[in-house]
């Protein structure tokens, strides 16, 4: 469906050039969220955009090779777990849940700095979670599903694009 345009060289080349920049910009958005508009969520979405671009330009196969559906969901859980884990660390260190000031002794910094770093930590978690979650949703909704008949198990990804997979694999 969305994966028909495999042989569009221009699109693919542009994407290959663009994607690293998009990703760097996304990381900047995440990291610079303290000082400018942005943060984990926006950055994560831009990272998704990069992945989605692969998906759009090269088709589903290459995209899945970068990160498959299971990995996406697992990374998403890791992203949320980073957030919750920071909160829980604060709790175990003696403060309340998400009380970043408890990070200060660990990081040997002042309390406001610790809060700032705590915010950065959770933003990274959010970024990871949002990127992978959005990617997973896009794969599920826009991608070829091997599960047309709601069978109990997924068949391997089949369909017309299997023929196109070989040229892609050289990418």
């Amino acid at each position: 469906m969305l994966t028909r345009v495999y042989d569009n060289l221009i699109v693919q080349t542009v994407c290959r050039v663009m994607i690293p920049f998009i990703q760097i910009y996304a990381l900047y958005v995440i990291a610079h969220g303290h000082y400018s508009p942005g943060g984990g969520f926006q950055g994560g979405v831009i990272l998704t955009a990069a992945l989605a671009l692969i998906f759009l330009a090269y088709g589903q196969g290459p995209a899945i090779r970068r990160m498959n559906r299971i990995q996406a969901v697992i990374f998403c859980s890791i992203g949320v777990a980073i957030y919750v884990g920071i909160g829980l660390y604060c709790l175990l260190a003696g403060g309340n849940f998400l009380d970043y000031s408890q990070l200060a002794p660990l990081l040997h910094v002042s309390v406001p700095r610790a809060r700032s770093l705590g915010i950065l930590g959770v933003e990274i978690g959010v970024g990871l979670a949002v990127m992978t979650a959005m990617y997973s949703i896009i794969l599920d909704i826009a991608g070829q599903s091997g599960n047309e008949t709601q069978s109990t198990d997924t068949e391997p990804e089949t369909g017309p694009q299997t023929a196109n997979r070989k040229p892609d694999s050289s990418q």
Partner: protein, 81 residues
């Protein structure tokens, strides 16, 4: 915040919204929805909510439209109303 500009964008927003729900071709409707979101971003930037605008720009105009388009490709783009 200039209220005339604000007013103008709001009018555009409304036009987009009405168009989005009235166009019979779903793909066009979704694209117009993207335009709607874009005008919304503009409005919010103008109101000073840059973070919200940034998010709306990245989510609604990009991801949301992508999801809609993907779903429409998988189903049908015809609509009776």
């Amino acid at each position: 915040m200039i209220w005339q500009l604000d007013f103008l964008i709001l009018i555009f927003v409304i036009i987009c919204a009405v168009a989005a729900i009235n166009i019979r071709d779903l793909l066009s409707a979704v694209i117009i929805l993207g335009a709607f979101s874009f005008f919304m971003c503009l409005l919010w930037t103008e109101m000073g909510a840059i973070d919200v605008a940034f998010t709306e720009a990245s989510v609604a105009t990009a991801i949301s439209t992508l999801l809609f388009v993907g779903a429409i490709y998988k189903t049908t783009r015809r609509s009776k109303d």
